[in-house]
């Protein structure tokens, strides 16, 4: 019994089914094809991109001794809104902090930018493995607290802190300019850590992990097909001799100043001391913050590397460069004599000198550090008919100085190098107008007045003399993971003075050690050459010394600069001598050891002022 009247209704019903089907297909089309919104959401939903940090490159000294390495440290973090029902006192006891400290930290975090109750906040950073172990045992009692493993630096020796520099969390500015970094990454902030950051850091890897709705990691996406392995940072081999460095730092104890030793044949830095110094191991671990604060507030600025950042009048060490200039320009010959009757006198101008026979040729003048000789040299150069006038002579002089590496940054592989100061004609023109001559600028000839150099530049001058006219841009790193370093460190640079001039100066420096101002630099069995410096300044004179040895096959060229140390022979000479002996003989003689103890224990009082 068919009801034909209602049979057409099957089309209505069928139509409804098809309509629903079409609406659903349209919605599928909308969700899956038209809209990208859901795909992006799905990715951020499920994928957790975990960064795998590569091991930072290590540092070794020239003898292959490990200097800087990595050690795990642990940051205690927390997600504010996940914290519930914890015993604060228990937490404080476990972490070894006071309840006041806890409250202060929390307050500070809450006020800081980027605080969110949903994201991980660093509560305490750089806990040691032992401290972490103690916390981990009780961690279950502190829901919302987590531990983040980090890799920080550790140091084998307590020396050369300022050279290694430091690592710290990358700044917001750097993150914005360099896409490699993300918040919380460590970056080299000073010293070699900073200048070799790109080499040391390696390359971060990523793991694409899948995270379920509860935030639990469920394994690697597609079995790790999208993961990239981190590439470890490259190791640095330094030209530094860490034992030499340590001895230098000890000798400079309770003094302010610098020591720079260079291997003349390569330009590698053998040691670079900036006193006062600090033990880099103080900046490891949880007391880092406290120690760092103390160091950065110290008026003697132990964090500053004076060897490249400090500029000083070079004093008499600078006379060597003058002799080279005058010889090369034909102003004098090694046989030229100048009179010195207790100093330099011209018309009414007088510049004092100490007692020594007179007149003297070049060699003995260097050996006795005669002021008058070099003043006369400058006067003769400035009045020479070779040049159109004072200005041209001045600039010619300036060209010589610049060719020896003064007045501009040498280009060492450390950040923050200072230029020092070499004046030129325009400089004096600005101050004196037309009315200036050799006498006006006479003190530049003895390394005083407007001239300032960094200890590195002084050491480099010495290396140049040792090499008889060439030098390599000084550098700390000798090789990177077996590869060679930048070519600019491999190309010799020549000065404007010739070999003959250098031989004459070397001869003078040798005489200085044998029977001149730096007899104290003599090392039995080694031909040492040297030159003292006593730089005048507002306070007590600075004690300076440059020296190299052996004379004909120089292995080490050194510059020592002790602020307010008095005569060059008082601190500069013994320190320089001890370090050369240590480096060349690999040990100190008994007599030298006693001398070293004496120097170490000498304290220079600097007062309370800012240095």
């Amino acid at each position: 019994m068919k009801n034909y009247g209602n049979e057409k209704r099957k089309y209505v019903l069928g139509g409804i089914v098809i309509t629903v089907l079409l609406i659903y297909i349209a919605q599928l089309f909308n969700l899956q094809i038209l809209s990208d919104e859901y795909k992006d959401k799905a990715d951020s939903n499920a994928f957790y991109k975990k960064t795998i940090y590569p091991a930072r490159g290590l540092m070794y000294d020239r003898k292959g001794r490990l200097l800087v390495y990595n050690q795990p440290a642990y940051d205690i973090t927390f997600i504010p809104r996940e914290i519930r029902g914890i015993d604060t006192l228990d937490l404080c006891n476990t972490l070894g902090i006071g309840i006041d400290d806890f409250i202060a930290r929390m307050k500070k975090l809450r006020r800081s930018r980027g605080y969110s109750s949903y994201t991980e906040q660093v509560f305490m950073s750089r806990l040691s493995a032992e401290e972490f172990a103690r916390f981990q045992e009780k961690m279950y009692r502190f829901p919302g607290f987590y531990v983040q493993k980090r890799s920080i630096r550790q140091y084998t020796y307590g020396a050369a802190g300022a050279l290694f520099g430091d690592i710290g969390e990358v700044s917001q500015k750097r993150i914005e300019s360099d896409p490699y970094y993300t918040r919380g990454d460590y970056i080299g902030t000073q010293g070699l850590e900073s200048s070799y950051e790109a080499v040391l850091r390696g390359k971060k890897g990523t793991e694409m992990l899948l995270r379920d709705a509860y935030g639990r990691i469920q394994g690697n996406y597609l079995g790790g097909a999208h993961d990239t392995m981190p590439i470890a940072g490259k190791d640095l081999r330094l030209g530094l001799d860490i034992e030499l460095q340590a001895l230098g730092e000890e000798l400079m104890k309770d003094k302010i100043g610098s020591i720079v030793a260079i291997e003349p044949s390569t330009g590698e830095i053998l040691c670079m001391v900036s006193a006062p110094t600090y033990d880099p191991r103080l900046l490891v671990g949880r007391s880092r913050g406290e120690n760092h604060k103390a160091l950065s507030q110290d008026k003697r600025k132990p964090l500053m590397n004076r060897a490249v950042m400090g500029t000083y009048p070079p004093g008499s060490t600078f006379k060597t460069s003058q002799a080279l200039t005058f010889l090369q320009e034909g102003i004098i010959t090694p046989e030229t004599n100048f009179p010195c009757a207790g100093g330099f006198r011209l018309n009414k101008f007088k510049l004092g000198c100490h007692a020594h026979p007179s007149p003297l040729p070049l060699g003995p003048s260097i050996a006795t550090s005669c002021n008058a000789y070099f003043c006369w040299g400058l006067v003769r150069m400035f009045s020479s008919s070779k040049y159109s006038g004072t200005a041209e002579a001045m600039n010619r002089w300036r060209d010589y100085m610049v060719s020896m590496g003064f007045g501009y940054r040498l280009g060492i592989d450390l950040p923050g190098e200072a230029r020092g100061m070499i004046p030129n004609a325009q400089y004096y023109g600005k101050h004196y107008g037309k009315y200036w001559n050799a006498v006006t600028v006479i003190s530049i000839s003895i390394g005083q007045g407007e001239v300032t150099l960094t200890p590195l530049q002084i050491a480099n001058l010495c290396a140049t003399i040792a090499n008889r006219g060439t030098f390599y841009t000084p550098h700390l790193v000798s090789s990177i993971d077996g590869d060679t370093i930048a070519s600019r460190f491999k190309e010799p640079r020549t000065t404007m003075a010739g070999r003959e001039a250098y031989e004459a100066v070397v001869d003078g420096m040798r005489q200085a050690v044998l029977n001149g101002t730096c007899r104290g630099a003599n090392i039995p069995g080694i031909e040492v050459c040297g030159k003292t410096g006593t730089a005048q300044n507002r306070g007590k004179d600075h004690s300076a010394f440059i020296g190299f040895a052996p004379k004909d096959d120089p292995k080490i060229a050194i510059a020592v600069y002790v602020e307010n140390g008095g005569f060059g022979a008082e601190f500069g000479v013994p320190i320089g001598s001890l370090l050369m002996e240590k480096y060349l003989n690999d040990t100190l003689s008994t007599a030298s050891r006693e001398r070293a103890e004496y120097i170490k224990n000498r304290v220079i009082y600097y007062g309370e002022g800012e240095r």
Binding site: K10, I18, Y24, I25, L31, Q32, I33, A42, N45, A213
Partner: protein
Amino acid sequence: MERERGNIFQQIDWLTIGLYLMLAIMGWLAICGASYSYIDTNILEFLSPSERTGKQAMWMGVSLFVGIILLCIDKRIYKDWSYIIYIFFMLLGILTIFIAKDIKGSHSWISIGSFSLQPAEFMKFATTLALACFISKREYKIDNKADFIKSVALFLLPMLIIVSQRETGSALVYLSFFFVLYREGMTGLVLLTAISAIVYFVVGIRFGETSLGSLDVSSGHYTVLVLIQIFALSMLKLRCRHDKTFMVLLAVNGVGTLLAYWIAVYIIAFNIIIVQYVLIAFSIVYMLVRARLAKENGNLWVVLFICGSMAFYASCDYVMHNVLQEHQRVRIEVLLGLKEDLSGAGYNVHQSKIAIGSGGVSGKGFLNGTQTKLKYVPEQDTDFIFCTIGEEQGFAGSTFVLVVFATFILRLMWLAERQNDRFGRVYGYSLASIFFFHFTINVGMVLGIMPVIGIPLPFFSYGGSSFLGFSILLFSFLRIDADRAVKV
């Protein structure tokens, strides 16, 4: 026309069986995708009886076995036993309310040993049988109030029982029997009223706050008024067949609407909703006049429909803002996309949309979905199983599944239409309607179109009882269909 015994397998509609097997296999694979975890990766584990996929495979085997038995049961037996089966399952359903353990607030599961059964899934079969039997009585007349109420009561009783089991979603499925009653002659007004009410509500609320193009009028309000006129005109044309009235109103309202819109957009902006009210008022007056003059009494129904619609729309707004509780309103607003409530009511649907949307054109590949696997989508192997298909098979695969499903439903309707008696047809339509209801609500929910009502997608969602229940419905009908030549 008696059919020879033993010939049964030639009479069976193999196309339906083929579609059934396709759905079952695709469903099982989807469950594999949904329960596959990244931690254990051994694919052989899928058939282990301790895994959900293994259990489902076992239930599929059981269902197939039961299905084959059902194919051997003569149609006449159903007729004789239908009320007894109905009464048995209703009693079992009532018993379940009291003996079932509380599982997430629902009291619908009976445990026998290590197996759990959900009697509600078999109550559909019993109800279908009883309804088909009742309607196919020679003296049954759907226009007869008593008959109509009795037939409605037949499926309202299981609804009531299931609501008592706290399975409101499953109870709503019984509303699908109204489709069957419609096919059997129930006035279409019920269906039209229901559909138009839903449309008014959804459109009115969804677009109530958005303005129409550049015009400063509520597009929801405007659209509803236009829809009322369209529905009214359709009624006039299809039901009353008053062609002259229809033509006049179509011309006046159509031209009036378009002209007003054109002026508002291009010449001077004004409140075009007022024009719609004027047009509706004109329609009512014109139809009443025609009813009086030309004795077009059908017009009165249309006028009644218009007034009812306007009243309903007005009350929707009132109910939404003054009657509903805050959380109920939020739920509706979330569903309609007015609010994003991603951690509360909207979480499931939002995650489900993310999972499906991330599938793209071709999907992430079998077992490669990330969202479903990582349990972002709750109920991913039961109510939200379609997510897995969307994510892993993409637009191509999920469209294919939808088309196969729709084909299956249309095929059942086609089979129902070819029955020679009312029993078979009612039975077939009941079946098609139940599948259609499940399909519409489940997929609609997953796609974020329908409200979140927890009912399974037949043959896809994990669950032995539902798979067996649907299979029983299907295979019993296949035998009835094979026996269609036998008149009872």
